[in-house]
Subunit: 317 residues, 3 copies
Amino acid sequence: MKNFLSVENVQSIRALVDKALDYKKNRLLDNHLGTGKTLGMLFFNPSLRTRVSTQVAARNLGMEVIVLNVEKEGWQLELDEGIVMDGSSTEHIKEAAAVLGQYFDILAVRTFPTLKDKTEDYSERIIGQFLKHAGVPVVSLESATLHPLQSLADLVTIKETFQEKRRPKVVMTWAPHVKPLPQSVPNSFAEWMNGWDEADFLITHPEGYELETKYTHNAKIEYNQDKALEGADYIYVKNWSSVTEYGKIINRDASWMITSRKIAMTNNSRVMHCLPVRRNVVIADEVLDGPNSIVIQQAGNRVWATQAVLAEILQNN
Amino acid sequence: MKNFLSVENVQSIRALVDKALDYKKNRLLDNHLGTGKTLGMLFFNPSLRTRVSTQVAARNLGMEVIVLNVEKEGWQLELDEGIVMDGSSTEHIKEAAAVLGQYFDILAVRTFPTLKDKTEDYSERIIGQFLKHAGVPVVSLESATLHPLQSLADLVTIKETFQEKRRPKVVMTWAPHVKPLPQSVPNSFAEWMNGWDEADFLITHPEGYELETKYTHNAKIEYNQDKALEGADYIYVKNWSSVTEYGKIINRDASWMITSRKIAMTNNSRVMHCLPVRRNVVIADEVLDGPNSIVIQQAGNRVWATQAVLAEILQNN
Amino acid sequence: MKNFLSVENVQSIRALVDKALDYKKNRLLDNHLGTGKTLGMLFFNPSLRTRVSTQVAARNLGMEVIVLNVEKEGWQLELDEGIVMDGSSTEHIKEAAAVLGQYFDILAVRTFPTLKDKTEDYSERIIGQFLKHAGVPVVSLESATLHPLQSLADLVTIKETFQEKRRPKVVMTWAPHVKPLPQSVPNSFAEWMNGWDEADFLITHPEGYELETKYTHNAKIEYNQDKALEGADYIYVKNWSSVTEYGKIINRDASWMITSRKIAMTNNSRVMHCLPVRRNVVIADEVLDGPNSIVIQQAGNRVWATQAVLAEILQNN
């Protein structure tokens, strides 16, 4: 693995999940792997879990970490090619990426979608420019369309909590929210579940919230949430905005919130969410504070997932 | 010591002061104590001394440090229980605290009072929620009502500068200021002085600036500053806003500023202040630039005080 | 070397350049020199290259690094002496500098000019106050009038790229820009070129853009850019605002932009710029994307230049 931008960069999901679980057992297992190497973390957007868990993961491997809040601590970057830079942008991303590649051994970038221009967002231009010009491995800390470090942590969490011999039934369900949110987490989770041969996967959402089939592939979609939840071992809860009416909220149906009544329909399902979660909008208090929620454990696993990815890159570059 | 939120968490003030002075003599004395452990520092409010001295202290013990400027780099947190989160708060403090507890071995939090709602401020709700949900030791980097790391550094400073056999007379005096300030530093200093058996303690302030007796206990209050300063070995200067007319400035009497005329009334008193200090409002230039001021040494001691506290926690958890 | 504020602090430019190139060959050559020491980096203004390259350099020497974004994470500082601090400034620079000197072993400061008051800017008051009150070595991360870490990296870049036995011809040329920029980079580059005996130096700019002779000394000035570029081995491109009409843009003549037509006049000149650079305003795409540009290599050398300076200070204090 040279870069980590999507599941497509992963040779064996199974091996990567196992590696993460190894680090969870012994965080300092490879604590000299990154000696003398520096991870640069660039945030174009705010972050809590990703920011912290990635720093901890890198330090567990002995790497130095430097965090940059772009546009707060640095300058506004120009993305367009061939432009006369007489406006507000101070530096072209070509130079920024190439220079940062001089300073860092791995470059990790977080960049949100505009939710206004689908073509722009789905072109992943920002992270693409870093990939093209940095000259060092690039890791996505969530991009406009995908959040692969989250998805890997999600698989790690399912793997470590499911003890039965059979394949678990995992249902990803849309839930209501007050603001239009990116599709990166559901896109990515779908993509990883499709690539993983250790679970059965089903998606449920109101009509109009269909995700790109580029990520969902042949995953079954069930528009009736109650029906979808029947027999679920895991509910993966997440809001997203519409792909077809790009970036819009087309439905806020509160009956899609995950409550204990919904849990009662499942096979005593564990409940997952990438966080942050709006309580009593997306998931009810009774569920988040109850025994079925594994959202904290899931967030904790972000460290081990990221440590596995960074180690893979360090070992192969 | 598991948590460090007030003097009540301290078994022996004397031992903790001595430990700080040991680190001042040899900063790398316990530089492997924190190996593989991470301190998370959360700032809800700005900080200079606390921010830097705590990082240095933690690194002296071999700990990793991650700093988070909450609400600048992260999200706005919800504090209320049972609320439907359809407003501007993106994450509940319950999840934020629990998740951070997954990443950090010690969680240090700075949070200022509103100075509008005394019941809210004195309930210490924010730090209380971290204590309840983080699952790891919590250290106050100044809370709504107390600043124990400052107080410990203050005692360390008195201890190292007072060479006589008798007990020093320490006078905490209110001084004027242009903005309403928290009561956390004076509350905390009073609490620590009451718990320390190595000095005599007197408080002086204009009427109406009485502090909570919960912190001042039986400390004598003298409303005449000149009289209070007679024979003082240490003057601890600090402004605070009114407790009874909560958060209000009820007096700006410039005659309470500490000048060389005031120093002349004392036993050649040393002058302390937690900083930042507004020159020629709280303390006159002539005093800050003169030989009686020990404010820089006092600020320097923040490192050793914090190092002692973190070491205690690392050794006992 | 105790402090590093200008070329005047350097005993031997040649030795310092060689030291930087040694670190480029082996970054961990002196990786225990800074053990137990902390570098404090204070940013009064934004920074990308300087921020990152300095952190990497310090870590290569085993130093701890703490970054402070003053006025974002801290307080507003008062600079005037004897003032009654009843306004918006919370802390006097005297205390801030002295306190930071308690926490850090080396203090690095970045502070831009106002470009409004030449006397104020050229007095270098902010960095001067740190020098006076910090009590520890002070390093400029670019001050109001100079940027010595950049200049050292520039000389390192010329030294490592010029392989011929003769002295290279280095031409510093003004170029147009949309905003008034400081004179710190050209002042500093002129000062260093004058002190270096390994190159011939020429300055070209439109009339009215004369720099202070305090920095340019006897350097030849040629007002005709085309004539200046004849036979150049290196073009050092930079915009600056007028010194005489202080801080003003008095000319935006687009014919001064560096294009391939300009390069054709030179001795196949290498093109340097400190970055960030506005494409197609200062330098044309065709040049920045072509084989003559060494701006990325030049930015990369910032690490080794800074590492040499920090090492010198660590070895002599």
